[in-house]
């Protein structure tokens, strides 16, 4: 039971990274991206392939996973970000599906639907971070989340965060204030992609195997749900949302009711959360984080 709770925390950590990425894209940039699962998959496969086929250490694959995800973010972002929001949703959705399609079919590299097994465990200073002994792994994941949180929080308060907010609120007004809309959108997209790539890398090191079935559209919607539930434009809320969604996901196993509750229950609930939140509380549980500048304590 306690062990199980640790598992939930680890998944909260891994998904929180994706949610942080989604938050910068959707919460700050106002762009509906539906392919966090795609970047997650790219990160996982980068780590899996490099460490299994080429014997790289986990720490060497991690930045590569982030960079490859970022490159794909750029690749998909450059053409589509110049378009209106709705198209972006579909284009990114399509991209996520293409990634899974390719992983499923490119047997010589990805080993098709079988996936890649026996990924070596990450080691640090001679110590193995064994995912079966969950504490060490949890600590590692938490460190990653803290770093990502601080970095993205700082970023959101920088010129870039303000520019993104301006773009979200009114593109034309932002443009006339001299903000390069496409540039900032692409930035947000690439950053969001790279942090999802890192999450994927961690996922690969945690489950020690990757299969295309893990990276479905469901994952993208789940991440979106986390951000919407917590509150768009608020990183703390994204992490809180992640935790709640993970609790919901594992609720049947936690309570031992998995024989009673249908397996589709969590997906139906995610759908309900999206609809209900949009109608009654579009700002999420915690609401948007407003940055105030000026005297401390003053509004």
């Amino acid at each position: 039971m306690f062990n199980f709770f640790l598992l939930i925390l680890i998944y909260t950590g891994i998904y929180a990274l994706m949610a942080i990425g989604q938050n910068i894209i959707t919460g700050y940039g106002g762009m509906l991206s539906l392919c966090q699962a795609g970047f997650f998959a790219i990160g996982s496969y980068a780590t899996a392939i490099l460490s299994v086929r080429f014997g790289w250490s986990f720490w060497a694959t991690l930045p590569v996973a982030a960079i490859i995800s970022a490159l794909f973010g750029l690749l998909i972002g450059l053409p589509t970000l110049r378009l209106k929001g709705d198209y972006l949703a579909i284009a990114t959705l399509g991209f996520g599906e293409i990634v899974r399609n390719i992983l499923n079919n490119w047997d010589s590299v990805t080993n098709g639907p079988m996936g890649i097994q026996k990924i070596p465990m990450p080691t640090l200073f001679g110590l193995t971070i064994n995912p079966y002994k969950k504490y060490a792994f949890l600590v590692m994941v938490i460190i990653f989340v803290i770093i990502a949180y601080i970095l993205f929080q700082r970023l959101a308060r920088s010129r870039m965060g303000r520019a993104l907010t301006a773009v979200r609120e009114d593109e034309i007004a932002a443009q006339s204030m001299g903000i390069n809309i496409t540039k900032y959108k692409v930035y947000a997209f690439v950053l969001g992609a790279s942090v999802a790539g890192i999450a994927g890398s961690l996922q690969a090191a945690f489950s020690l195997s990757v299969t295309p079935g893990t990276y479905t559209f469901m994952v993208s919607v789940m991440v979106l749900c986390m951000v919407v539930l917590g509150g768009m434009g608020n990183f703390k809320a994204a992490i809180l949302g992640t935790f709640i969604i993970q609790l919901i996901s594992y609720f049947p196993q936690l309570t031992g009711l998995s024989s009673v509750i249908p397996p589709q229950f969590k997906q139906i609930l995610f759908g309900l959360i999206l609809v209900v939140m949009m109608i009654w509380r579009p700002q999420g549980l915690l609401g948007r984080e407003e940055h105030t500048y000026g005297v401390k304590g003053g509004k």
């Binding site: 959707t26 106002g30 509906l32 539906l34 053409p79 589509t80 378009l83 929001g85 709705d86 198209y87 949703a89 579909i90 284009a91 959705l93 399509g94 991209f95 599906e97 293409i98 399609n101 390719i102 499923n104 079919n105 034309i172 559209f217 919607v221 979106l224 919407v228 249908p262 397996p263 589709q264 229950f265 997906q267 139906i268 995610f270 759908g271 309900l272 959360i273 999206l274 609809v275 939140m277 949009m278 109608i279 579009p282």
Partner: protein, 305 residues
């Protein structure tokens, strides 16, 4: 490639495209009026296929193929259309109407939610196994000078043509159609002119969903019925709508046919592995968005400050 082979692929592409076109109409009509993508459209198609399957099996009983089964099939299609029309209107009322004045993102997110609820409820209640839709007629193929045509393909072509023509006539010639066009041009002005905008929007969802039901049944005859059947088909139909110029009804029809042809010829002639068939549609989408984002027949909309 011989002439016969060419016509074979052409026929296959046209039938596939006919179905895409039917489904694309729902996307394009909703987008034309409410300016958002109804993500749940693909799942309405799935519901339509299930309703059609159950009603048809119920009506048909164990009677052998004959006139009655054909009548039963069309009856099942009509009932499925009605059920989906009501479903579409209900979804609009509950999940989209409260969000009409909200941010652009809100109805999109709500629609994704509805899509998830529909497909997973179906999986929960009906199981994930796929079911076969029985043919209402003898589907042995006809060899027409080397081109193999199945009665099913003829059915698809005829049904989709009839539906599209009916819709086109409805939108172009009737009073209600005129109200629809007016609403899609400018909702507020339409309201000032005495058009009941809520009614128009409800009707749009009803028609779009009914067409999706037809598309679902036609697809089900070919590929079986399962809870997630609507997702990929819906996406591709959306691509078709974008290719034709979203919001444009004739464009959606053309885009659907074009996409069907591209997919068939892409696999047959260009040798794209059939495992990657679904990627063709998205490749087309990205190219269209890059080269001509308003679609082949769409109007360029100037942004006003």
């Amino acid at each position: 490639m011989g002439t016969a082979e060419f016509f074979q692929h052409l026929m296959n592409g046209l039938t596939l495209g006919g179905i895409y076109a039917l489904i694309a109409l729902g996307y394009t009509m909703v987008y034309g009026i409410l300016k958002f993508i109804n993500f749940a459209h693909g799942d309405i198609l799935m519901v339509g296929a299930y309703v059609g399957l159950f009603v048809f099996d119920l009506l048909r009983g164990s009677s052998p193929l004959g006139t009655w089964t054909v009548v039963a099939f069309f009856l099942a299609m009509l009932i499925s259309m009605a059920v989906c029309a009501i479903l579409g209107m209900t979804i609009e009322r509950i999940a989209y109407k409260p969000l009409r004045r909200a941010t652009r993102l809100a109805p999109l997110l709500s629609a994704i939610g509805v899509s998830f609820i529909l497909s997973n409820s179906a999986a929960w209640m009906l199981g994930t196994q796929s079911r076969k839709f029985n043919y209402p007629f003898d589907n042995s193929s006809i060899n027409l000078a080397g081109v193999i045509i199945t009665p099913h393909q003829i059915l698809i072509l005829v049904v989709s043509l009839v539906m599209m023509l009916a819709l086109k006539l409805f939108v172009d010639k009737t009073r209600m159609g005129k109200a629809m066009r007016a609403t899609s041009l400018d909702q507020d002005t339409a309201m000032l002119m005495g058009i009941n905008v809520n009614k128009v929007i409800s009707l749009t969802f009803a028609i779009g969903s009914a067409l999706a039901a037809v598309g679902g049944i036609l697809i089900a005859l070919d590929f079986k019925v399962y809870p997630s059947m609507g997702t990929m088909t819906g996406l591709k139909a959306f691509v078709a709508a974008v290719v034709g110029g979203i919001g444009n009804i004739s464009g959606a029809m053309f885009g659907g046919i074009l996409l069907g042809l591209l997919e068939t010829f892409g696999v047959a002639v260009l040798g794209i592995p059939s495992g990657l068939k679904d990627t063709i549609a998205f490749g087309v989408l990205i190219i269209i968005l890059l080269v001509k984002p308003e679609g082949l027949f769409g109007k360029v909309e100037k942004e006003k400050v």
